[in-house]
Symmetry: C2
Subunit: 379 residues, 2 copies
Amino acid sequence: MGPGPSNVHPRVLQAMAAPTIGHLDPEFLKLMDEVQELLRWVFNTQNRLTIPISATGSAGMEACFANVFERGEKVLIGVNGVFGKRMTEVAKKYGQIAVSFEKEWGKIFEPDFIRVVLESEAGIAGVALVHAETSTGACQPLEEIGKICSKHDVIFLVDTVTSLGGIPVDVDGCNIDVCYSGTQKCLSCPPGLSPVTFSEKALEKISKRKTDIESWYFDLSMLQKYWTTGERVYHHTAPVNMIYALREALLILGEEGLETIFARHNLNSRALLSGMTALGVEPLVEEQYRLPELNTVKIPEGVDDKKVRSTLLNEYGIEIGAGLGPLAGKIWRIGLMGQSSTQKNVVYFLTALEQILKKMGVVSEGGKAVKAAEEVYGE
Amino acid sequence: MGPGPSNVHPRVLQAMAAPTIGHLDPEFLKLMDEVQELLRWVFNTQNRLTIPISATGSAGMEACFANVFERGEKVLIGVNGVFGKRMTEVAKKYGQIAVSFEKEWGKIFEPDFIRVVLESEAGIAGVALVHAETSTGACQPLEEIGKICSKHDVIFLVDTVTSLGGIPVDVDGCNIDVCYSGTQKCLSCPPGLSPVTFSEKALEKISKRKTDIESWYFDLSMLQKYWTTGERVYHHTAPVNMIYALREALLILGEEGLETIFARHNLNSRALLSGMTALGVEPLVEEQYRLPELNTVKIPEGVDDKKVRSTLLNEYGIEIGAGLGPLAGKIWRIGLMGQSSTQKNVVYFLTALEQILKKMGVVSEGGKAVKAAEEVYGE
């Protein structure tokens, strides 16, 4: 119940443990096609270039920036948490001009703000935002901003590491041009791959680059030759077993259905926060922008942050996340991602937390939290 | 029996399928320490910075070049196969001057040649060679060249993707400063990680860089803060289950013992080549430079390369590798790596190949190949 990795379904672990076959084996090539099709489905896109990068989510971020922008290009980057900040660091590594606009952690960027910046600042090549900021639990609305980017003909790049498979991600509907995610959050697959997708507009921009892409491992022009049916030109040895795992995880998502999954995430989050509120622990993020898969709550005054987290881990076997950056020591981050988003986890966590807070003398009577959660489930 | 991935021990697959825990979980941090210690052992080094990069072997190559050399620096790169050529491509991506010296594929570089180049060419920052060239089956001797690099105070960078765990790799004894490998060859672990190790000389060079490292994901200054005991600063989400697998694979190597493993690789290769020779199929590489884990043989005149390989795969379930580059259509590459290096595999492969060649009318009487191999085993 931390900010990821989430719990992995036994079927995924089992699939991953199948014997390793060659990365050019005809059976594996079929599996690659299937994974691409499943990724298009979960990203809600028709983009032909929709593949998993052979490394974790931050590598997906790097692959996106490295390919789609060039040295000296200006990218507007929204920074309202760790991962927006990381985008600026990655862009700088590639000699791009990161025009970062900051917002208080836990808040989101308004479309009007983006519009004004795009209208007043010349030579912007793209806008980059984090859909689900794992460090704050805030959900950035994308639809309006996608339209604005489209109108201004700039690239819209979105981090969906913690949103994909937990809340709706609509790449085509939101005019997203470049999008990366991770496997270890709401897809409930072990960490090790980063699904990415590129619109035709993004591919056209890449094809018109004046300079070579400054990375070999992340060079899409080579990667797509390996992933494209009929070509299959060897680039690097794909992490075969991780691809098995990703396929199985996506199949499990398909069996449950995205709408059902989103409703489950929503329900469990509401129950959790209702229980927390009953304990006097308040959510950080305004209701309409809360991520159901990553619940951030303010640590009540006088409560020992570290002691609560270590007791949860050592006595109850529950991991939750600490606050980062300006929120360090101020919030807890409780993940209810993918397979971890269950009523059982919510009830068990609330019971554990209530017991701990009671021992600390912060809460007097018991059972309030679970009762509040159960009321939500009973609605 | 291709050029990798090799067969993975069931214990490794099982270990990989253990439940995913957090990348900052105290239990996982212990496991990271253990993996670093095991990697130092298999690399034969005391280097403190000895870690797995969270991506496949080619990413390890990229991480090494990106960190240790700077834009504009000259690196001598030996090109006698695919992976030497890849080194030049990676170096160029990072704006380094790849001074490539070519040699016929299947041959090796003589120490005297390197010495002469270093004496005559000014401003060389490093020498980069491939220990075990997977595309040719040639083994590059390193010891003398390491001494020469040391004398000239240049960085010695070595690719040990296909050698580590199959033949002796002696990082400290050969004065290797920067070394990367892969998990899916003689370590018999699925692909997905790239073990790397850096000498103090390499780390000192990195610490004196005038320019920032031009990659975020591969930036060692951040990676080492995550891997160093006591620091553990979050960088990216480690591929937790792959690390489980790597530990188990290394433990299995430890149980058998490196000397025993090297002897096994040697014996099986000799048996294989003896059987092949009996079929009129000759090795490509001169005896003293042959890699026992990757056996390259010349396809006899008139034999249909693709038909043999597809029959092996479809009728016998055996994968072997095709020739690449100038050797395409001219050689086969038969891997006997790690867990795949067994007498059973040798005998089964020879039986299958003999049957196929007999049907093609290339071989007349049967049983020659296995008999020749068994003589080697009976010695």
